[in-house]
Amino acid sequence: SKELFLKAFNEVNENFKKVFNILFGGGRAGLKLTNKENPLESGIEIIAQPPGKRLQNLMLFSGGEKTLISLAFLFALFQFKPSPFCILDEVDATLDDANLTRFLNFIEQLKEKTQFLIVTHNLKTMEIADYIYGVTMTEPNVSSLYSIKLEKK
């Protein structure tokens, strides 16, 4: 229904502004309906302005910035309606250290309500693990798993 959708949109929009701020360490962002008169037919536009930067075509952002904006949108949705679990495959591949740290801190906030399965090559990402599985192919084309013991600090 129209009311339900608008209620969800407005709440996710508020979340998006805050999550964007946290992930980018500042800046302003928001979501915009392309068709305000007809919300049930409307698309959703992303307006993003990292700290100090000018508003610009979303495509001009860097690879890492696009990933961070995408994650902000996803997490904004999760804050509105948590998914019980979330599987992320190498989403951290293009994030620099500073952005990676803010991303990982945010995962630690969300993990109360959402179980995360994260595939990564990044050593820093491994640090937020409650459990780690290593995958190998001791025999070609045959995968096997093993647990990696964690010494929690």
């Binding site: 536009e45 696009k66 949108f73 998914s83 595939v119 693990a129 459990y131 070609p140 084309n141 096997s144």
Partner: protein, 158 residues
């Protein structure tokens, strides 16, 4: 609700029955290139009814069945089961398929159509798999998507 277990047999690089136990919190999966990490992600998409094999890097059913190596022959069947639940209840979802294209789904041991599984997940507040599975290389699609496509994400949550 959380993923308790994934069991894979015959799916891509998992010829042997492989049981993976999960707990609440953050589980990290690591390993070298091509060792099978994304194949695990693909198996979850597949057991939840991924119809477009392109989305799990295949073209035909035979692509996702273990195709052998110098020592082992190809297999004829692929099976994945997913157990999600909490302390009170459990949902056991199974998908089995054969090289000739035949396939079947089961929910808590009973043979069902895919729709019944989707309804059962929906009743538990679990939406479309695109909402909670981000495959390798896909995260930026939220930004590069058309506004109408992005809307579908919100509809999942609404």
């Amino acid at each position: 609700m959380f993923i308790k277990q994934i069991e894979i047999q015959g799916f891509k690089s998992f010829p042997e029955k492989t049981k993976i136990i999960f707990h609440p919190g953050v589980t990290i999966i690591v390993g070298p290139n091509g060792c099978g990490k994304s194949n695990i992600v693909d198996s979850v998409l597949w057991v939840l009814g991924e119809q477009r094999l392109k989305n799990i890097r295949g073209d035909r059913t035979e692509d996702i069945i273990f195709n052998g190596n110098s020592r082992r022959p190809p297999l004829g069947m692929v099976y994945v089961s997913l157990i999600i639940g909490n302390e009170e209840k459990e949902l056991i979802i199974e998908h089995r398929a054969f090289r000739d294209g035949e396939s079947e789904y089961k929910l808590n041991g009973k043979r069902v159509r895919l729709k019944e599984i989707q309804d059962a997940l929906w009743a538990e507040g679990i939406g479309e798999k695109e909402y909670f599975v981000i495959s390798q290389g896909n995260i930026n699609q939220i930004v590069t998507a058309k506004p109408a496509e992005r809307r579908l994400f919100l509809e999942e949550a609404a």
